[in-house]
């Protein structure tokens, strides 16, 4: 298809995809390369990277293998990023679709709710949610999804506003289609491309939000996540800086990969923008 070809024509997009595939590969290979629990003690604490061939990336303050945590952490980051994005996009498109399609008071109510969410800094809201519902992996993921939906909702609403008056929607109505058929079958497929592109931004932010939570030691302490590792490294930041720096690089790479893929998708799905 044309979009696929256009995607692969951009070097940045291809680099992004390769980086993302590496991260996915790490997540898949984790249990195969490191059969032991990544959170179990493996050796002496605070071994520098490359000092001991058993621990290529060294160990943290309690003697756990950093390399193992990085590999397992890829799973957690992708899981949180992916699931939270799906939640955010699902809520966002649903609310945006109804607000944009029906307009009037439905739009007013839904948009006031959206604004209420948007006026609160979403990290503060996330902290409140985690403080109230506890910090297991499930609650953290859902909470991140719940604080990220307003932007996709606005985007979907804007698309629906411009599409709902197009003649093909009116044609659908004269054929006797029900509102739900029009929303899901006719408008949504046309409104989705920009939302899909925006999903990459949501995913990158979701990964960062989880790391930030973990840095404040508010994320699930029972999983090996990059954020947890950074949080641990905080105590030894001035001397054994690598404990924080290594997962930091992993987060940077993943977020960069996701953003590049998103940018590439944007150019591939909006060919006219690309030509300019």
């Amino acid at each position: 298809m044309g979009a696929l070809k256009r995607y692969f024509r951009s070097p940045a997009a291809v680099i992004g995809l390769v980086l993302l595939l590496i991260v996915v590969g790490m997540a898949i290979a984790a249990s195969w390369l490191f059969p032991n629990n990544p959170l179990s003690l493996a050796g002496r604490p605070l071994v520098w990277p490359f000092a001991n061939p058993r621990f290529p990336l060294g160990t943290d303050n309690s003697g756990r293998d950093i390399a193992a945590q990085i590999f397992y952490g890829a799973r957690i980051s992708l899981l949180i990023g992916g699931v939270a994005t799906v939640i955010a996009i699902a809520i966002g498109t649903l609310i945006g679709a109804f607000a944009g399609y029906y307009g009037g008071w439905v739009d007013n109510i839904l948009m006031r709710i959206t604004e209420a969410f948007q006026t609160l800094p979403n990290f503060v809201l996330l902290l409140v949610l985690v403080a109230v519902f506890g910090s297991t992996l499930t609650t953290v993921t859902i909470a991140i999804g719940v604080v990220s939906w307003p932007a996709p909702a606005r985007l979907t609403r804007a698309e629906f506003l411009s599409l709902r008056n197009r003649e093909f929607i009116q044609a659908g109505r004269t054929l006797g289609m029900k509102d739900l058929q029009l929303i899901l079958g006719e408008i949504l497929p046309n409104a989705l491309p920009p939302v899909i592109v925006y999903a990459s931004v949501v995913m990158a932010v979701a990964i960062l939000l989880e790391s930030a939570l973990a840095f404040l030691r508010l994320s699930d302490p029972n999983v090996a996540s990059w954020g947890n590792l950074i949080g641990l490294g905080r105590d030894v930041l001035r001397v054994q800086w690598y404990v924080s720096a290594i997962p930091g690089i992993a987060i940077l790479t993943t977020v960069l990969a996701v953003s590049l893929v998103g940018q590439g998708l944007n150019d591939a799905l909006n060919p006219r923008l690309k030509q300019r």
Partner: protein, 542 residues
């Protein structure tokens, strides 16, 4: 009349980027324009006529390049001119007027400011002098109340006034050559007549050379001294207006002229006297803005309209933009709920039905839309689009798709084309798909909202022929909305003229167009461009 040529194109070729549908936008085009004459370039969409204007101005899109030939302007070759030289030429020596004045003007600056900018860029006049010149120019283009107009923003002016302001801007520096790219296409017919007259008058007074690009032979007949006909980037014929219009040599020119429908009606058809659709006292008022009813703007779009459509007949509703004809059409199919009145279709009152009932009954009345690009969902295949209606009403998918292929044949499309997406079809073909979609539900009444307005004249003729063929074969009754009186004269049995939401005159088409009673109808008919030409052309055809 013609003197030394101001502009001459000498074997000009412009290449298109690879992957376009042809290799050249222009091929070996030679043409000259002398001072004090109007040369019309006519052609259908994609003929390269706008590309010619852009080439002269050197405003070519990326990937499009001048391949050979010369553009001689006052003896200087513009193809070889530097960009800095071109900036002087543009605006000062060659000015341009575009099709859509709303998009050609900056919405955030007043009209006066934008005209003044011409002087600021190209001259050293003082502020007060510039102001005086701007007012004089606006006076020249006969904008009512120039002082107010100069301070107005583009959206505060009407379409015709905006185009006048554009012309004022173009003529600010007394250019030698004015290029007008479809300047009246977006305007109503009465406004178009005024603007054409204005261009004619100004051109004669200032002895400007005008290169006038249009697709409409009526406009050509109205304004041209000489005519050049373009097809697929090639200039197929040129000569004086009289010789081209009356004795076209090239088959393509003949075909184009023959496709212009005459303004008089063909012999009346027979249809039953029993009404299938009766619209009585329908009103619709648009309300916009305002909080809790305060400060809301109220525009009555349709005022107390009553019409009857006899079974098997075609009722034309003609009027200019904003006359409420589209709103009326949408009320009839209940895309818009009318405020008052009744719409009787086969004895049932459409106006008072609930949404659910409308959904169930909708197969009795179907609509064909104006925009062949916007009215088809770009993400569905053609066969699916046509089958959608029957599927919604309970026909199994496979039957509906098979039926869709039969309909394809009926509207003159290849049945195997059903697997393609809308963007793979041409405008005329898309309009056929739209027609097939409406016919799939086997409606009794078809409401067609400007179904051929977005099409080229030859394609328009084909679609109209198809429509009248289907009308006979399927016994359709049609409500036909159009702004084009010529089209209305050809397809309609009855016609109603709308102005500001009201029907000012209605009756059989021969009567309304032949002996118009209402002054507005008379004005409309007088404004149809190339009226005399059409009369002669008609005599030649019959």
């Amino acid at each position: 009349m013609s003197e030394v040529p101001i502009l001459s194109l000498d074997r000009l070729s412009v290449s298109l980027p690879k992957g376009a549908d042809r290799t050249h936008a222009l091929k070996d085009v030679s043409l000259s324009v002398a001072s004090n004459e109007i040369v019309c370039v006519v052609g259908e969409s994609g003929s390269g006529k706008s590309m010619m204007a852009n080439t002269i101005m050197r405003l070519l899109p990326q990937g499009v390049a001048i391949e050979g030939g010369r553009v001689l302007f006052e003896g200087r070759d513009l193809v070889a001119a530097s960009l800095a030289d071109m900036r002087h030429v543009r605006g000062e020596s060659i000015a341009m007027v575009f099709q859509e004045p709303m998009t050609a003007l900056n919405p955030l600056r007043t009209v006066g400011d934008q005209i003044a900018e011409m002087f600021q860029v190209h001259t050293d006049l003082s502020k007060t002098e510039i102001h005086a010149r701007v007012l004089a120019l606006l006076e020249d283009v006969r904008i009512p109340d120039p002082t107010v107009a100069a301070k107005a923003y583009p959206h505060e002016l009407s379409g015709g006034q905006r185009q006048r302001a554009m012309i004022a801007m173009a003529l600010a520096l007394d250019p030698k050559l004015l290029i007008a790219d479809e300047p009246t296409t977006a305007l109503d017919v009465t406004t178009q007549a005024q603007i054409l007259k204005l261009i004619r008058d100004l051109q004669q007074r200032k002895r400007t050379a005008v290169l006038f690009i249009t697709h409409d032979f009526g406009v050509v007949a109205e304004i041209a001294d000489r005519v050049a006909v373009m097809q697929h980037g090639v200039l197929v014929e040129h000569g004086t207006a009289a010789s081209i219009l009356n004795h076209p040599q090239h088959p393509y020119t003949r075909q184009l002229i023959a496709a212009v429908p005459p303004l008089t009606a063909p012999k009346p058809r027979r249809f039953s006297s029993e009404p299938i659709l009766t619209v009585s006292h329908v009103s619709k008022t648009h309300r916009t803005g305002g909080f809790l009813g305060r400060g809301a703007r109220v525009t009555p779009a349709v005022k107390d309209v009553s019409l009857t459509l006899p079974r098997g007949a075609t009722l034309g509703i003609v009027g200019e933009s904003g006359s409420g004809k589209s709103t009326l059409a949408r009320c009839i199919v209940r895309l818009i709920d009318p405020d008052a009145g009744s719409i009787l279709l086969d004895g049932k009152d459409w106006a008072s039905m609930s949404r659910d009932e409308v959904r169930r009954e909708t197969r009795h009345i179907q609509m064909v839309f104006q925009d062949p690009f916007g009215s088809l969902n770009p993400r569905r295949k053609a066969a699916e689009l046509v089958a959608q209606g029957p599927i919604v009403h309970g026909t199994p998918r496979s039957t509906a798709i098979a039926e869709a292929k039969r309909l394809f044949e009926l509207v003159g499309l290849d049945p195997s084309a059903g697997d393609r997406f809308p963007h793979e079809f041409s405008g005329g073909q898309r309009q056929r798909i739209g027609l097939a979609r409406a016919l799939a539900l086997k409606p009794d009444v078809l409401v067609a909202d400007e179904p051929v307005s977005a099409l080229d004249v030859s394609v328009q003729a084909q679609v109209l022929r198809l429509l009248s063929e289907l009308r006979e074969r399927l016994g359709l009754s049609i409500v036909f909305i159009t702004h084009d009186l010529r089209v209305a004269a050809q397809v309609c049995d009855l016609v109603a003229v709308m102005k500001e939401g009201e029907i000012v005159e209605h009756g059989p088409v021969a009567q309304v167009f032949g002996r118009p009673q209402h002054p507005y109808t008379q004005a409309l008919i007088a404004s149809v461009p190339g009226g005399d030409f059409t009369a002669e052309h008609e005599a030649a055809v019959s």
